[in-house]
């Protein structure tokens, strides 16, 4: 690392050191092609914390008791690009195939539990809530609990606020837009009823103590996250979901992701609307 007051630089050794540490802590692996993206954010934080150079910053971040700087950096390093009704065939699958199968099997009145991860700015879990209200008659008979998680605390706060750009809501049907959003200048504010339907939590999938208590879910949406992980982190995530699911529960991945290439723990289920993955009913 070479440094002077005018210009902070990140050497290749620094980059590798950081990338190895960040991978161990979060499961997110940066290829060499992401060097510019990573360097830019590291330099931003070195300057903001007056650390002077990478080494001082890295030591401060690693040994900070509160972990606040690592969390801040994590927030900067994660990509939060999504919109309402993205890959909506899976939500069609949820209301037309998955939920009817789940409720048919239910032997008690316990709530149906849905976990959306990553939460990002909330478009996906709120889409789930709106889909259930608009397209699933069962919502009048069953309690539903939606929990949405992300490693990025900044984006969770944004999700809780529920204020969106025109681009975020571009696929929302006009009647839904009228019913659930209020236009505020150039933006759209999601109504309180939908916002209250989702519980947001901070979770690091690579940290077992974080995920330990996530149990008894019937359906998990984890879309377009695993593509950012390497093979080992994908396997870890698949195993976390396995324990988070009830027997017979389902996982929906993004269209470019396949559980069959990650883990042998799941059965492939081909529904008319989508291919999803299921923890077998016999699983213990």
């Amino acid at each position: 690392m070479k440094t002077n007051k005018a210009k902070i630089t990140i050497s290749e050794e620094d980059f590798n050191k950081f990338r190895e540490y960040f991978y161990r802590k979060t499961g997110i692996n940066f290829e060499a092609s992401k060097r510019y993206f990573v360097d830019k954010r590291l330099i931003e934080r070195i300057e903001a914390t007056d650390s002077g150079d990478f080494r001082s910053y890295f030591i401060m971040m690693r040994f900070q008791v509160s972990g606040a700087e690592l969390q801040l950096l994590t927030n900067l390093m994660t990509v939060n690009e999504t919109y309402f009704l993205r890959e909506d065939y899976q939500f069609e699958c949820m209301v037309n195939s998955i939920l009817p199968e789940l409720v048919k099997r239910k032997t008690d009145n316990s709530p149906i539990r849905i976990w959306c991860i990553p939460s990002s700015s909330g478009e996906e879990p709120y889409t789930v809530a709106m889909y259930l209200m608009e397209r699933w008659p069962g919502i009048h008979q069953w309690d539903v609990e939606i929990i949405s998680s992300d490693i990025d605390t900044g984006i969770l706060n944004k999700a809780r606020i529920g204020r969106y750009s025109a681009r975020s809501v571009m696929h929302v049907p006009a009647p839904w837009l009228l019913k659930y959003f209020k236009q505020v200048g150039d933006e759209y504010q999601l109504c309180q009823d939908v916002r209250e339907a989702v519980e947001f939590t901070r979770v690091n999938l690579a940290e077992p103590a974080d995920t330990r208590s996530y149990k008894n879910f019937d359906l998990i949406f984890c879309r377009n996250l695993l593509i950012y992980f390497d093979d080992l982190s994908r396997k870890t995530a698949a195993e976390v979901f396995f324990d988070a699911l009830n027997p017979g529960g389902f996982v929906c991945l993004g269209h470019a992701e396949s559980m069959s290439r990650i883990s042998s723990l799941y059965k492939v289920r081909k529904f008319p609307q989508a291919i999803v993955y299921q923890k077998s009913l016999e699983s213990r």
Binding site: E196, E199, P208, A209, K215, N216, E239, S263, S283
Partner: protein, 208 residues
């Protein structure tokens, strides 16, 4: 009926509190629980215990539940320490074919860690271990894979080991493999499969 805002799992971490980290001895004991879910949880959380590889290996040898084995192997892979690697290598000698295959898959994820052991494993006295080692090379992202395979087809006397290696050389081989492939054909002149596989590998290399 409606949406429930308040989570029904009061233990779910809200991000404001540091979750409890369980002590390693408790987790090692939990590895023997009668509940498979408890064993998976323990195996996953043992990733935070650097000296737990022996305990995980002992459980792996007797564990019958596939889902628990998968988590144990993921944790051993994440640990990637010498004890974990040595344990995986030991499993290559297991009579349990499923376990061997699971270990081969796990070792493929550790190219840097298993690389120093490759020469020793490829010279192991048990030809089955040599074959499983070539299987590891199949998806090992390491620059020496071709050199190791060339060494196998140049020196190994066992036809099945060479056959496994030559199949793979057809996929990853370069012009460096042409001479050794010709010599392999000469060494096993009466083995039709070796002749066929070596010719196929040579034609693929020459096409490129």
């Amino acid at each position: 009926m409606a949406f429930i805002k308040k989570t029904t799992s009061p233990t779910i971490n809200d991000g404001q509190h540091t979750p409890e980290v369980r002590d390693c001895q408790t987790l090692l004991t939990q590895l023997s629980s009668t509940d498979a879910s408890e064993r998976r949880t323990a195996a996953r959380e043992l990733v935070g215990c650097p000296d737990c590889a022996n305990g995980l290996m002992e459980r792996l040898k007797i564990e019958t539940e596939i889902s628990v084995r998968e988590v144990i192997l993921t944790t051993l892979t994440r640990l990637g320490d010498p004890v974990s690697i040595a344990g995986m290598v030991e499993c290559l000698r297991s009579e349990d074919a499923a376990l061997r295959n699971e270990v081969v898959e796990a070792m493929k994820l550790l190219p840097q860690e298993v690389a120093p052991m490759m020469l020793g494993l490829l010279a192991d006295e048990d030809p089955d271990v040599r074959i499983f080692t070539v299987n590891v090379l199949e998806s090992l992202c390491h620059p020496d894979v071709e050199a190791w395979l060339i060494q196998v087809i140049s020196n190994d006397d066992h036809v099945n080991v060479c056959a496994t290696a030559v199949d793979l050389l057809g996929e990853v081989g370069s012009v460096d493999a042409i001479g050794p492939l010709e010599q392999l054909k000469a060494r096993f002149v009466n083995e039709p499969y070796i002749q066929f596989a070596a010719n196929l590998a040579l034609s693929r290399i020459n096409e490129n």
